[in-house]
């Protein structure tokens, strides 16, 4: 692992040599810092040159380097305020939208030290296996006497150090398992490798016929390949997850005693601090409004689509979105009673209550490891007792261990998971770990959250044609002048003439006001215009003394949802809708999508109870949700999926993340999961079949190193090819 930088400056990761070399150039005077940006649009050689040139020509930039595989650009540039904004602006100017990434969060996944270490061990095992195999072929084709001894000695010379180096991951894993008095797959593997070497050394010294050097090395090689595939699957997911986490740097804007605003880390906020929350920003901590009026979008927190109006003295929750007016809040909740903390506690309980699932690989290992040891021991005792020739007995026991050793078994699961997760990654589904795929394959019920999951989470005008004539023109005129999300949705949903308005001004937290043909016209909240608010999201229009007109909005479902639901139904899954929103919008959506089972107004705890009730009936539930209020449910479900637009905590709880925000991929994920599970089971059968044939031969004492070499390689290749079938179809 790469050691991270000194704690005082988490962003100052040591620069790579190339950057430092260029950084010594004359045009940079301020200290250099590493900046990293996600640039998803980079896809070709020309893009790389464009981006690198655009950035390198900028004042204060020492070097820029695009990584096309990760779609990131890494820069070393002067560490001055505003540098990041300038870089983003420059990237935008050449046509590439960029997202700053938090260097410190990425440091852990940047240098894949474990992967490189495994690659090095694979290389050594592969090199040694091939050379020893060549020498062994000469032995098998009839080398005898001194020649055979020479070949054996050379093999030993290669094999012993090679196994000592390449086998380390297995030895250490086996040791740590034995220390806690458990058996894992690595115990028989290590034992087989060590015993094979020991027996072969003894045979070589005695000038014997059979040596298993090649078997020990091929074993190490194939198993390391399995290990590496496993690592790659995890590392890809970890790196992408770290990138998602690095996208959000938790910061707050603190207002000092002199009125100056400084940007501070969230950890530095104390109770009583005054924080500025601009329109469009999220509230960093729980607090009460000190000055300003606004509306808060709590959809992410509670699933409610109706904005909540706040003014001085009102409580605002961390994570809610400030829609209209600038607010200053006084921080109150940094303690245990914040809503966020309560949700986190629910998540913890849900996670501990989640039934412990045994992965297929673990289940196989649990049967396999004791069986192998038992067989080898039986062979040793039986042959020793029957013939009295203990050297022969040890030889046969070693042969049993080598033959039964799980080459194919070691590849059976990782190869399938690597192929499946690779295919899912191309489709935009990020897998946090392979076990999630096995869990997904068992699912029979899907529970969806509403706001932001099934729906787009942004509002559209409900009935554009209801508004006609002057009202329509005035509404357009007012809406166009405002930045409020409802006003923008209104402006986007209407067409036709625009009334000429004068004296337009926004009243933060309430609405927008102007003069039209000598009358006062207003667009905004119901209370402001003297109307009674309804139970749907709406804005109100008032022209002069006339009664206010309601303009309703709806949250429309994602375009891909009907197709997705049809596909999931066709796959035999039961579908539920579980929302924290009011009954009216939930019922409307359920009706529109044809969902029979739905529940509205569910609190985070009720969501967990709902899932618990389902699983008590024996259902395996897939939870799909994005809000903070879904977090506990996501953790409690058998398996869970979040869109990438979800709240931070939800993405952490979910087992899978849909990167492209195309929910349609859920059907594909389920299909691949079911297929992957079938392939894993097929691979187990192949491995078992091979053992069924070879173990009796080994027990009978007629197994030769040549047989072991052929069986081991062929079964490994068959298993890998079977796994790769999963990734073929694009």
């Amino acid at each position: 692992m790469e050691r991270s930088a000194p704690a005082v400056c988490p962003a100052c990761i040591p620069l790579p040599d190339w950057a430092r070399a260029v950084g010594d150039g004359a045009k940079v005077e301020a200290p250099l810092r590493r900046y990293e940006f996600a640039v998803p649009a980079v896809h070709c050689a020309a893009c790389m040159t464009t981006v690198e040139d655009a950035l390198s020509n900028l004042q204060g930039v020492a070097a820029a380097r695009v990584n096309l595989t990760l779609k990131r650009v890494t820069l070393s540039a002067a560490d001055i305020p505003g540098m990041e904004a300038r870089l983003i602006e420059r990237l935008g100017a050449v046509g590439y939208a960029a997202q700053p990434l938090d260097s410190a969060t990425l440091a852990a996944t940047r240098n894949d030290a474990a992967g490189r270490d495994l690659l090095a061990r694979i290389a050594v095992a592969g090199f040694a296996a091939m050379n020893v195999m060549l020498l062994s072929v000469s032995v098998w084709s009839g080398a005898s006497d001194a020649t055979r001894d020479l070949l054996h000695w050379i093999s030993a010379l290669i094999a012993v150090p090679a196994v000592a180096f390449a086998g380390v991951p297995f030895f250490s894993s086996a040791l740590s398992a034995l220390r806690v008095r458990r058996l894992n797959m690595d115990v028989p593997i290590s034992l087989a490798m060590i015993l094979a070497l020991a027996v072969s050394m003894a045979e070589t010294m005695e000038g014997g016929e059979a040596a298993w050097f090649d078997a020990a090395l091929t074993l190490a090689f194939f198993l390391l390949v399995g290990r590496y595939l496993d690592h790659r699957t995890r590392a890809a997911a970890r790196s992408a997850a770290a990138e998602l986490a690095a996208l959000e740097v938790p910061m707050a804007r603190r207002v000092g005693a002199d009125g100056a605003v400084e940007i501070v880390a969230l950890d530095a906020v104390r109770t009583g601090d005054r924080l500025a929350v601009a329109p469009g920003a999220r509230v960093p901590v729980d607090g009460t409004v000190a000055t300003g009026h606004s509306e808060m979008d709590t959809a992410l927190l509670t699933g409610e689509t109706l904005p909540e109006a706040v003014g001085p003295g009102d409580v605002v929750r961390a994570g809610t979105l400030n829609i209209s007016g600038a607010l200053e809040i006084s921080a109150t909740g940094v303690g245990e009673d914040t809503l966020l903390k309560q949700i986190m506690r629910l998540v913890e309980t849900a996670e501990t209550a989640r039934n412990t699932y045994t992965s297929l690989a673990d289940a196989a290992a649990r049967i396999y490891a004791p069986l192998v040891h038992l067989l080898a021991l039986v062979a040793l005792v039986a042959w020793g007792a029957a013939t009295g020739d203990w050297r022969l007995a040890v030889n046969i026991a070693a042969a049993v261990l080598i033959i039964t050793c799980p080459c194919a078994l070691g590849l059976a699961v990782p190869a399938v998971l690597a192929a499946a997760s690779g295919r899912l990654f191309r489709a935009g589904v990020l897998l946090k770990d392979g076990v999630a795929l096995e869990r997904l394959a068992a699912v029979d019920t899907v529970v969806f959250d509403k706001t932001g999951t099934l729906t787009l989470g942004d509002l559209r005008l409900h009935a554009p044609d209801a508004l006609q004539g002057d009202a329509r023109a005035v509404a357009r005129g007012l809406a166009q002048a405002s930045q409020h999300p409802l006003a923008r949705a209104l402006a986007a949903g209407l067409n036709g003439p625009i009334a000429a308005l004068e004296g337009l001004h926004e009243v933060p937290g309430f609405g927008i006001e102007g003069q039209w043909q000598g009358q006062r016209v207003r667009l905004g909240r119901a209370e402001w215009l003297g109307a009674a608010p309804g139970d749907v999201t709406a804005t109100w229009l008032k022209i002069g003394p006339a009664a206010p007109i309601e303009i309703a909005f709806e949250d429309s479902p994602r375009p891909e949802v009907p197709e997705l639901l049809a596909a999931l139904r066709a796959r035999g899954l039961a579908l539920h809708l579980l929302s924290g929103d009011g009954a009216a919008p939930v019922a409307a959506l359920a009706g529109q999508l044809g969902l029979e089972h739905w529940q509205a107004g569910a609190t985070p705890a009720e969501k967990v109870d709902y899932l618990a009730a389902l699983s008590a009936k024996g259902h395996k539930v897939l939870m799909v949700g994005d809000g903070l209020n879904d977090t506990a449910a996501l953790a409690a479900a058998h398996v869970s999926i979040s869109p990438a637009s979800a709240a931070d905590a939800s993405r952490t709880s979910a087992d899978m993340i849909i990167i492209g925000n195309n929910l349609g991929q859920i059907a594909l994920a389920h299909e691949i999961a079911v297929k992957a599970r079938r392939r894993i089971l097929e691979n187990f059968s192949i491995a078992a079949l091979y053992n069924l044939v070879s173990v009796p031969l080994a027990l009978a004492g007629v197994a030769t190193p040549l047989m072991a070499a052929i069986a081991m390689s062929s079964s490994s290749i068959v298993v890998s090819v079977n796994a790769m079938r999963l990734g073929w179809r694009k």
Partner: protein, 51 residues
């Protein structure tokens, strides 16, 4: 069979050479951005300090 005494060291030496080359490329971070390396060859920019 004395020819083995020459051939085996030669073949081992060649193999070790390959292994050493692989280690060098691994250490040189040549596997960090495989897609980028493949695309960069198409760039017409003269790179006097390839990295």
């Amino acid at each position: 069979m004395t020819v083995l005494l020459i051939l085996i060291p030669v073949s081992l030496g060649l193999g070790l050479l390959g292994l050493a080359a692989f280690f060098w490329s691994l250490k040189d971070q040549q596997y960090d951005d495989p897609e980028g390396q493949a695309a960069r060859i198409l760039s017409d920019r003269y790179d006097d300090e390839p990295r």
